[in-house]
Symmetry: C2
């Protein structure tokens, strides 16, 4: 069976060799006569996986040893809780959050259980169709939290504010997709299941010096310092997702790193946005200046054509194009592993429609 | 290369067909032309996996609809935190814990961050060489917590006390290994990476009526009720570990269920313990009456023979026999998927030594 053109919003397409190598590792890992799934996480073969998975992130992000890299279970949603537990002061704790979509709002909701939260900018009243830019964040806050890319609405922060406190960013849906000065962040987290692997593991990159200052008695499993002390093996890590993430990042490094991925992502996004802008049948949900390179959310101006359009893209072997259930329409996710050819197939369907 | 005899304490051996079917699903899942790793967790193919993975647990445990089954990320260590968050009262909360090993002690340490904890029984002073039995638990406690099997020392609870409060059990290392009246428990949790799958997912079985009574403002991702309301899809689940767990439980169900697994486990344990008792070179760490069917921890009486014994079992193709670093010696883990033949190979090595 031919591979489909997979525009799924996540879990999403990964490089084909990640599928092949990870399947092989399940049958026999490193030629040791055992499956990756049945070896101890403290065996030398898996410790080498974890060590390299942590090291490659620092190389790709060009970060120094002020930062530590962790692979944790529980999803990015658990980070909505771990961030305030570790960073919001127990006495008069106060954090600033930017509200750019339902995931940002989810992070805000959880942080409020730990202290005072100021939403310094929000586009909620405009259906999250843009990224607020007119705000400042002073030193009265324990940290500032933002979401770099908003999958549902197809918006993305093109630049990050200078803030007078710690800078925390949820990069779940655009990590490793574009060059950034990653040292402007004090804590970055990302669920793996977009650009860096399958579901089941979450990346945390944290500047060590910011930890241990919240004054809270943090449960051990939620304490970044405990995970750092145990080199991301405080408890049994999600072995397979970590290994598949390493394979994904090795593929990225072997194909020109983030710079080359960004160039490919720019080309894919340009191709699709140009067709949407040219074609009178379609429009995006969001403002042009905030358009995401990762998720192109768009809709038909004439909803009566929906069935015909759906039949057309499905007939072309396209999968995963339906928009999020909260806003409908379509969402073409152009994650790192999606080839330009798949975007061309979609654009051809739109042109011929 | 021949398969090794894998006595690893966890992650551990799984049925061979779990390796084969899960590797195939990574290349092409259900013949849909996509990898299991690249499909949405909300696609009908994966929703069917999650639904069946939840249903099969209830069938195997013979539990009715008073119970809900969840597959969560974060490991059993996260349950050390979720249990008190959900069950220990915010006002004058008080729980009873049984201290039977380092994992039980870990659960106790975390619970103390939420309220008052009484250790109603402990064998710590005797190096956890037995399971305390002489205690009662009254209704003044919000719940009682125990650990059914202690991998490091090779002890196992052969029966469970009648308590006058909620009964919570960490069954990480012996779940699905023996028949039990599972309805005597109000909450059971287990990291998957022993008898029910690869690392990266944790099973929670909970009686619905016990939830929502702690009076705490629980972070959403740590709230069992939220996970139940979303049918174990509150956030993106660890897709691959859940699928491999389902395959493992299907293998169990197709091979006689828990009763047949227990008979196989009894035969394996009998073979090995009889050799240890017969052979003057070896002894177990723990009292006979509390010996585990899952983990046979033993040592050489004469430590000077260690190198020779290590060479002997390694030459026989045995792997994962070293004891936990905290007590040394040897640990033969006899989880469900370990064949009797592997135990026979080990026993032959011991006989000939």
């Amino acid at each position: 069976m031919n591979k489909k053109h997979n525009f799924s919003a996540g879990p999403c397409i990964l490089p084909q060799d990640v599928f092949e190598k990870s399947a092989q590792a399940i049958l026999d890992f490193n030629g040791i006569g055992l499956s990756l799934l049945e070896i101890s996480h403290r065996s030398k073969d898996f410790v080498a996986v974890m060590d390299e998975a942590r090291a490659i992130v620092k190389r790709l992000m060009n970060l120094n040893d002020d930062y530590e890299v962790l692979y944790l279970g529980g999803g990015a949603s658990l980070q909505f809780v771990m961030v305030p537990f570790n960073l919001m002061k127990s006495e008069n704790g106060k954090a600033a959050y930017l509200d750019t979509g339902v995931w940002a709002a989810g992070a805000i909701k959880e942080a409020k259980k730990f202290g005072s939260v100021d939403v310094v900018g929000s586009s909620k009243e405009d259906n999250y169709s843009y990224v607020p830019k007119d705000y400042t964040v002073g030193s009265e806050y324990d940290y500032f939290h933002c979401t770099s890319n908003n999958t549902i609405y197809g918006t993305q922060m093109k630049s990050f504010p200078k803030v007078d406190t710690l800078m925390v960013c949820d990069m779940s849906s655009d990590i490793f997709s574009r060059e950034l000065d990653f040292s402007q962040f004090d804590l970055i987290y990302a669920g793996a299941q977009k650009n860096m692997g399958p579901a089941g593991v979450t990346l945390v990159v944290v500047k060590k010096e910011i930890l241990g200052k919240s004054g809270r008695d943090i449960p051990s499993i939620l304490d970044y310092s405990q995970h750092i002390a145990k080199e991301s093996m405080y408890n049994t890590p999600p072995v397979f997702p970590v290994y598949a993430s390493l394979l994904t990042l090795q593929h990225l490094e072997n194909n020109g790193g983030i710079a080359a991925a960004e160039a490919r992502n720019q080309a894919k996004a340009k191709l699709l946005y140009e067709e949407i802008d040219r074609n009178p049948l379609f429009e995006t949900f969001c403002k042009k200046e905030d358009r995401s390179l990762m998720n192109v959310s768009f809709r038909l101006l004439d909803e009566s054509k929906k069935e015909a359009f759906d039949n057309a893209w499905k007939a072309a072997g396209i999968s995963g194009l339906n928009g999020h259930r909260s806003i409908g329409g379509y969402r073409a996710s152009l994650y790192n592993a999606l080839p330009l050819e798949s975007v061309q197939v979609l654009v051809d369907v739109m042109k011929n429609f």
